[in-house]
């Protein structure tokens, strides 16, 4: 309860930064911060493994990938890079707020499950056993997906005239 109370505002603050920051790199770094804080929240909730995986994958890979892409796709014009407040903000809010209202309403009042609080501890042994027995097909499918993505992303990102440089963008 206490870590949640501390972390929740931080997460929201960081996420707001990711949405609001004018410079793309700042926004991306705020995203990395958000993801790291969410990982800490997972750790606090007892899901150690998930938290560390979240940290390794999101902070270590996805966030880095995003900032790296931002560097590669810089328009060159500094002014253009910095994002002024978008004109469509009103429409965006108009769409977002009802969704938020419904979700929050459901979250606060909609849950009628009788919950018994407990202190779970995520056992990676059990998790691993489930992964490779009952969920083995899903793992295999995921493996195929990741292989395809690796090849596909390499092909996509390949410079048409300089085929050797594809790996530098991974």
């Amino acid at each position: 309860m206490i870590p949640l109370l501390i972390l929740a505002p931080l997460i929201l603050l960081a996420a707001f930064g990711a949405v609001w920051m004018a410079r793309p790199v700042h926004a991306a770094l705020m995203l990395a911060l958000t993801l790291a804080l969410v990982a800490v929240l997972y750790l606090a909730l007892g899901a150690d493994f998930i938290g560390l995986v979240q940290f390794a994958v999101y902070v270590g890979a996805v966030a880095v990938l995003i900032v790296f892409s931002l560097l590669i796709t810089r328009p060159g014009d500094e002014a253009e890079e910095i994002e002024r407040r978008p004109r469509s903000l009103v429409t965006g809010l108009f769409c977002t707020l009802p969704v938020l209202a419904v979700l929050a309403y459901t979250a606060v009042f909609g849950s009628n499950i009788k919950l018994i609080p407990w202190q779970p501890k995520l056992s990676i042994a059990e998790l691993g056993e489930m992964l490779f027995t009952s969920h083995a097909p899903a793992v295999l499918a995921l493996a195929v997906l990741l292989t395809a993505v690796m090849i596909g992303a390499a092909l996509f990102a390949r410079e048409p005239d300089k085929p050797q440089d594809d790996s530098s963008e991974k």
Binding site: V25, L29, A32, A39, D48, F49, L52, V53, F55, A56, V59, G60, A61, A63, V64, V67, F68, L71, I124, Q164, D165, S167, S168, E169, K170
Partner: protein, 405 residues
Amino acid sequence: MLPLAAVISEPSLFSLEHLPRLPQRLVELLLGNFGAPEWLVSIAGFLVAAGTVVGVFLGGFALLSLIERKTLARIQNRIGPNRAGWFGILQPVADGIKMLTKEDIVPDKAEKFLHLLAPILIVVPAILALGVIPYGREWTPVSLELGLLFFFAVGSLTELSVFIAGWASGSKFPMLGAMRAISQMISYELPLIITALGVVMVSGTLSLPHIVEQQNGGFWHWNFFTPWGFFAGILFFICSIAEANRCPFDLPEGESEIVAGHMTEYSGFKYALFFMGEYLGLFAISALGITLFLGGWQAPLPGLGFVPTWIWFFGKLAFVIFLFLWIRGTYPRVRIDQLMRFAWLCMIPMALLTLPAAGVWHFTGRGLLSWVLVVPLLLVPWVIVGVIFNKRLAAATRTYTFADG
């Protein structure tokens, strides 16, 4: 209860084996004696334990900066630092003073906050990573069930901090250096993790102390002296050179090309922090390699148990570090395209092969049959990949139009 009595009641505290834990235990006992609450005792003990590790490795950092220079000088037929103190022994101190007293320059275009954040962020993960390594039978600062995963998780933060350093400097060389560093680190992190996975598969745990314990009983039980572990260990070593940005993979800060990479715009203490982060990272990755492949704190022969285990660990660490220095003094720096091609076309396929090999080793009983099966399974593809890479993918031999006459 008197403090002394409490101390005496735990006689093992004074054995050589328990020496590194002595400060922590002492603080805990004393605080407990003075009636401090339980949480305060554990937090204080934790802080002292962490302080021990940091202190040890900061000392190691200072020592290493001198030893590196001396060793390189020896390799290059020079004398090396010999002015400050006896045989230059005070050189690290002199360097430290110089660094701390230098002016801290922050460029105009820099992002002030991020510029400050980057050197801190680069040291923190290294220290965090050092915290989970089992240095001795009784000396594991933080014993985590997911220690290995934790190590890689915090290790991945380094990339982000390097990026921040490069980007926040608001200058071209740091940016280029950061991009080089990130692509290099991401590329080499993949085979690094994959080779470590083989160890996890065979040990059946992510806990580093458990991994070490499973390698007991003489050096022939170390993972490095199994066929798959031998190959995986070599790959791991190469990857750790790249991860630590050491020569011959020190392109991110290649002095002759991009000044000092992402550290170009740093000076003074911030620069020292980067320097420290690098060396701490080097220690961490070497320690992990020792833990995974070289039996950690295990003695090489069963009869050598009387020597404290942490001494074995640091002996191995010294040896591995010496290997780093030796390689640095021997090999020239590679080009960025060679580096990338080597990672993606050579390292990753080879590393992936060690996974099935480890599986075969594990499920055929680790006996003679396993040797017969695993050695060809790895050797043949390696030779093939090596031949192909050498013949068709390596950069063409350079011809010197004018120098050769």
